[in-house]
Amino acid sequence: MKYLHEYRDPALATRLSREIHRITTRPHVLMEVCGGQTHAIVKYGIDELLPESIELVHGPGCPVCVTPLELIDKAIAIASRPDVIFCSFGDMLRVPGSGDDLLSVKARGGDIRMVYSPLDAVAIAQKNPQKEIVFFAVGFETTAPANAMAVVQAKQLNLRNFSVLVSHVLVPPAMEAILSSPHNRVEGFLAAGHVCTIMGYTEYGPIASTYKVPIVVTGFEPLDILQGVYMCVRQLEEGRAEVENQYTRSVHKHGNRYAQNTIRDVFCIIPRKWRGVGEIAHSGLGLQTDYQAFDAEKRFDVTQCQTNESDECVSGLILQGLKKPHECPAFAVTCTPDHPLGATMVSSEGACAAYYRYRKHNAQTGVLNA
């Protein structure tokens, strides 16, 4: 069992597709929350296996996309310092700030290192006592435990030269913000499977009952997404609004308690600005008082940078599921992966990048080509 090909079986996919067709009697709008799910849907063409009456809109579950421009500008300012080794996950390196990106800073001589784990950044700090090591702690709840562990380890090792630039966001407040918007069209959610692996899914019960939306915790392979859609549509057709778990091989109801405790020890809930969406209360994580010494924003004197969002970019509407990438006038014209106007085109998890990479929009005919 490799958990790869089994969940991409074309025969099973066809069966699930037929079942979804069979039970669907009216239009439904579903949102998949996670950027990884968006990527899979577009890459495998899962939406093309669904009835036309089912619309999948793409949610704000791409942490790279929702990191505020100000924070990217601060990251660039910190990384440009000669005394700093700036560590980051890969896909943050290409996100443009107001004028620049981290890869350009690297080309100009900045010491910027891609890491696979925040603990690698801690190791770099131990090996380079004369430098300041800053880790760009981005992500949803999925990456928060490892980032918290890095801070815990740094404290245990009494490292004075390690800090984190925190940009953590939480999924449930974002879902509530979408549901309470007057423009909301979303009737059901495929919840982010790896977020729920950490957090469990008990916090979605109140959302489901308050807003009367089914929420299905869903994985990332084609069969996961098809089964998640099936379970969600079945609820809608039956008039139910409950939380169900499709991703049972990874997600338990109460999640990973140890990971949650680690998050709670290091982080506290704060308001957080989401790029393209605005500030959402109680939607982010910041460092607890005991760990304030590791806060890079406080350690470095990065003055408020002049942030300039592109006027053309409609990332915010895309992140809220109000527009699709090909409905943006700049898509594939002035906004491409080589010249991105906003984060949804830069990040490989972003909806615009996924659409550009796996489909192309014929600007003249208005038809998606693939």
Binding site: K43, Y44, G90, Y116, S348, K360
Partner: protein, 356 residues
């Protein structure tokens, strides 16, 4: 430590001819034009590469080439890490240039080699690389006939950079170029993909998988030569290096102005490579290779081409992966395992592992 004299032929596997206890690292003086540089060139490079042309002691190699069309190419190699499972920068430097000649339909004959060594490079590492270069040259049936050596200050390089230029001869009448690609052509690949890129990444990033992934670095000229010698009508050849299969297909589609479709289920990828890619969120279609190529040929030649290729060690897993299917197009599409077509675009920059 014994140091063979200048007149003694150095065989691979022998001890390093530059005395390691006296010179454990490359010094600036090894590129200074004086006695130390002379010793390095004579006792290591010329003794190991041992072509007649090198021992002419000219500033240029005097070569006799049959009156045929010749192919000429150059490439530079800057890989980190210098040593990796399945090869090193030296084997890359030979095979990369040999393969460029092979993709032009040429039989490689001669290579030049230029070293830029960083002061402080361990001499034992240089010795290992030089021996690998000679072994790779022997395996590829090419001679190293001329070269150059420079040493740069410590911290101004990355250990060693190598440039190789190569000359090959064309021994057939076929025109092999993207413009020859036709609608209806089959596309064949000689083996499984993604090994080199993942081998490098594993070492570079300190990722240890349960199975060691080895680079597929290998010379392809013998394989392409057999296809040409057996009269297979080849329209285009392209080796799959940086950017992987997807980038090569896009380059050909753009140059030929023809649309291409492949079937993902037909593209061979070893399980270990597929799993490593999944862990990191990478697409094997975009991962680098160093011993793999694609051939565009008329569909009715495909079966015979596969028969010939599968008799060679580097073509045992050769298979048809797609075809050229559209005029006046530059689009490459891929049919997924679910039967849905998606664009296989040229990647912008490098693939970056995903956050979550």
């Amino acid at each position: 430590m014994n140091v063979p004299g200048l007149e003694t032929e150095i065989q691979p596997g022998m001890i390093c001819p530059v005395p390691l206890n006296k010179y454990p690292h490359v010094l600036l003086a090894h590129g200074g034009g004086g006695r130390l540089m002379h010793q390095l060139i004579e006792t290591m490079f010329k003794a190991v590469f041992r072509s007649n042309e090198l021992h002419q002691d000219h500033d240029a190699a005097l070569l006799t080439i049959p009156q045929k069309k010749i192919a000429f190419t150059t490439d530079s190699y800057v890989v980190q890490p210098l040593l990796f499972p399945g090869g090193n920068i030296g084997t890359l430097a030979v095979n990369g240039t040999v393969n460029d000649l092979a993709m032009a339909g040429a039989r490689p004959l001669y290579l030049s080699i230029g070293f830029i060594l960083e002061e402080g490079l361990p001499m034992a590492t240089l010795w290992q690389i030089v021996q690998s270069i000679q072994k790779a040259a022997q395996d590829a049936h090419v001679s190293i006939v001329t070269g150059d050596t420079k040493v740069i200050d410590r911290a101004k390089g990355d250990g060693i950079y190598i440039n190789t230029a190569g000359i090959g001869i064309i021994e057939h009448e076929q025109t092999i170029a993207p413009r020859e690609v036709c609608v209806g052509d089959s596309i064949i690949v000689n083996g499984d993909l993604g090994n080199h890129g993942m081998a490098i990444m594993a070492v570079r990033e300190g990722l240890s998988f349960e199975t060691t992934i080895e680079s597929d670095c290998a010379p392809l000229a013998e394989l392409t030569g057999r296809l040409l010698a057996e009269g297979i009508d080849i329209h285009c050849l392209r080796d799959l290096t940086r950017g992987g299969l997807a980038s090569a297909l896009n380059e050909i589609a753009a140059a030929a102005h023809k649309g291409i479709t492949i079937e993902e289920s037909r593209v061979p990828v070893r399980d270990e490579v597929a799993c490593a890619c999944e862990l990191l969120g990478l697409d094997p279609l975009y991962v680098a290779n160093e011993g793999r190529f694609i051939a565009f040929l008329p569909a009715d030649h495909a079966e015979e081409a596969l028969r010939i290729m599968r008799q060679h060690p580097l073509g045992q897993n050769a298979c048809v992966i797609g075809n050229v299917n559209e005029e006046d197009s530059t689009t490459v599409t891929s049919k997924s395992t679910l039967g849905i077509r998606r664009i296989l675009d040229m990647i912008s920059g490098e693939q970056l592992p995903r956050i979550c």
